[in-house]
């Protein structure tokens, strides 16, 4: 500990514990967190709450798998309906949609573009409170009687027949939609107006591009969901025939409106994860990303084309077959930009100097699993084949390969990549690699048998099944247990690392992005000076030139090591 003169004057009144002032120790106590307007702290609030909902959704998933261990089912069919609906609702609206944008996007976008905060910090905090309100409403709906419609709320079952908490669930989803709209507005405005000097559009990290596209989709799709659930609620209360064929309404109209949101919502879930994968593939291959502009533009293309394919969820409804043809074709088209990304990532790996750290393992896992998820999506987009596998476990397996294999793998990869940046501590590399491999094995064992189940005709959302399917169901349940253990290990060591982990260096990966040019964890204002960007995105330079911008130095350690393989001992 050096003399007191080295302590920056602005933090002299903060209790000095040998650490430099950063966003985590700048203010203590619950109030400093609950009333914060700092995007980084709001991201941490989101991290805690989203993780809690994820664990809850995971518990429901395990209960579903337990039920399916025996052909007649462990639980009554009624309970089973409530279980899978709870799993779907929590995972979709409280985990997948907010996970990457609200946690990593919130934390990183301002830093990556060199801004001090998002454009509307108060709205950002408000969106977290709205999210929590939605969470409370949905939890109440789930635990005080449950919802048995499935997360899709198809009419007229949800409006005329279901005796469960459909109204409350609708309200919860409406409120959750507000939260993501506010986050979306913040991202778009921030990326447009708050970029640092020199940060041109084509110098933006691909993570930011992905979030820009995501925000566009959020803004244009979510309001339609809001009006859809509003109309569903009005119909349920008043029975005026909005979607009731008995009174002149058309339930397929509900499906159109629902999927106008919910198909693009799939891209809300996976686009940010794609942004993460672009970052970690480039950063851990230590190589400029291949086809930067193609990846950036493919994000936008996915966002736009994602709006034109919703009808492939309606192939077996009364939707016009002629429109079905068009939707089938467009669904094939939307695979192109996704494939562009996969090719570019692979090309980036080629001749890169790859370090097989945990984020890279997740990145590779993402590419492989997303590939399977995407390719089986083409099966489902085929008009004829979809009639056979519609609403079977084939669909379940497909979207879990995209959502878990894609979004969750991407999210965990990003969390590991930026864990040191967010918390100032490193996760234990050995355990992280082990957990990733366990998760990968468990995931495939869970969902690969479901492709076969679906192909053989096992329909989704059934509590019981013919005995000949039992082998595959048992395999799937075994896989789910392994996946659960893998995720449990991750949660455990990440919590452990908060206290015991090594101190993270400013730039442990030798990466060129702006977020690596501030300290770990960053100060409240993100940078010690407004950065001026003079380099292209992913321009890997010699490590010694990558300095922390304007950093005045630690009291005990005049210069912080900018790059170190595994940080320093505490």
């Amino acid at each position: 500990m050096s003399s007191a003169t080295a302590i920056p004057s602005e933090i002299a009144d903060v209790q000095w514990n040998g650490e430099r002032l950063n966003y985590l120790n700048n203010g203590h106590g619950l109030k400093s967190w609950l009333l914060t307007k700092d995007h980084k702290r709001i991201a941490i609030l989101y991290l805690i709450s989203v993780s809690a909902f994820f664990i809850l959704g995971g518990i429901f998933a395990l209960l579903i798998r337990i039920n399916l261990l025996v052909p007649q089912g462990e639980f009554p069919a009624d309970t089973y309906d409530r279980l899978f609906t709870a799993h779907g609702v929590i995972m979709v609206f409280l985990f997948l949609v907010p996970a990457v944008p609200a946690i990593l996007g919130n934390f990183l976008i301002p830093i990556m573009i060199g801004a001090k905060d998002l454009a509307f910090p108060k709205i950002n905090l408000l969106s977290w409170y709205i999210y929590m309100l939605a969470g409370v409403i949905l939890l109440y709906a789930i635990f005080a009687g449950g919802i048995d419609t499935g997360w899709t709320f198809y009419t007229p079952y949800s409006t005329s027949y279901s005796n469960s908490n459909v109204l409350l669930a609708g309200l919860g989803i409406f409120v959750a939609g507000f939260s993501s709209i506010l986050t979306g507005i913040n991202f778009i405005v921030t990326i447009h107006t708050m970029r640092a000097p020199g940060m041109t559009w084509f110098r933006l990290p691909l993570f930011v591009w992905a979030h820009y596209a995501t925000a566009l989709v959020i803004m244009l799709a979510t309001p339609v969901l809001a009006i859809t659930v509003s109309l569903m609620a009005i119909e349920r209360v008043t029975h005026v025939g909005i979607f009731d064929p008995a009174m002149g309404g058309d339930p397929v109209l509900f499906q159109h409106m629902f999927w106008f949101y919910s198909h693009p919502a799939v891209y809300i879930m996976v686009l940010p994860a794609m942004g993460i994968v672009s970052e970690l593939i480039a950063n851990l291959s230590h190589k400029n990303i291949f086809g930067y502009k193609f990846i950036a533009m493919s994000s936008l293309a996915i966002g736009i084309f994602g709006f034109l394919v919703w009808g492939h969820h309606l192939f077996v409804s009364t939707q016009s077959v002629y429109l079905g043809l068009a939707f089938s074709f467009l669904s094939y088209v939307v695979a192109i930009p996704s494939a562009i990304k996969v090719f570019n990532w692979t090309a980036t790996l080629f001749k890169g100097s790859i370090s097989y750290d945990t984020p890279m393992l997740y990145g590779l896992g993402f590419i492989g699993l997303f590939l399977i998820g995407g390719m089986t999506g083409l099966f489902l987009a085929a008009l004829g084949l979809d009639v056979q596998v519609h609403d079977t476990y084939f669909v379940i397996a497909h979207f879990h390969y995209v959502m878990v294999g894609g979004s969750l793998m991407g999210f965990l990869g990003g969390l590991h990549l930026w864990w040191g940046k967010m918390t100032g501590r490193e996760y234990p590399e050995y355990w992280a690699r082990a957990a990733m491999i366990i998760q990968f094995v468990g995931f495939n064992l869970t969902f690969f048998p479901q492709f076969i189940l679906g192909y053989l005709g096992m329909p989704r959302r059934y509590a019981s099944y013919p005995p000949e399917f039992q082998v595959l169901h048992v395999l799937s349940t075994a896989g789910a247990s392994i996946l659960g253990i893998g995720l449990g290990i991750t949660i455990f060591y990440l919590l452990w690392s908060l206290k015991r982990g090594k101190r993270a260096a400013a730039n442990p990966w030798g990466a060129p992005g702006l977020e690596w040019r501030t300290t770990s964890p960053p100060p409240t204002e993100n940078f010690y000076e407004t950065p001026v960007v003079t380099w292209e995105a992913y321009e890997f330079a010699p490590i010694e030139t990558m300095e922390v911008l304007g950093y005045p130095g630690d009291p005990g350690r005049p210069t912080q090591p900018v790059h170190a393989e595994h940080g320093t001992e505490d």
């Binding site: 447009h192 244009l220 339609v224 397929v252 109209l253 159109h256 106008f260 709006f307 034109l308 009808g311 009364t318 939707q319 016009s320 077959v321 002629y322 429109l323 068009a326």
Partner: protein, 98 residues
Amino acid sequence: MSEHIVSKKTYYTVFLALLAGTALTVVMAFVNLHNWNIVVALLIAGAKASLVIAFFMHVKYSSKLTKMWVAVGFIWLFLLLAITMTDFLTRAWLVYKP
């Protein structure tokens, strides 16, 4: 500050044009144009909305970016309506003959 201040005279002119448009749309509704009544009504409504957007909402004087976003909003609304209506308009083409 680079904001453009629209003159009061412009506002009043637009106001009168909007009132005239309202009168016109009511009058036209009472004329039998067969299938074209709805087209005329929507055209007049669209013209009125454009006036409001361009002058009252200052889009005429705004950046290209704002203009683009306004267009995006209406294009997306059009996508929603057009694609869904394609379904309802072409369903009847397929007639089952039991």
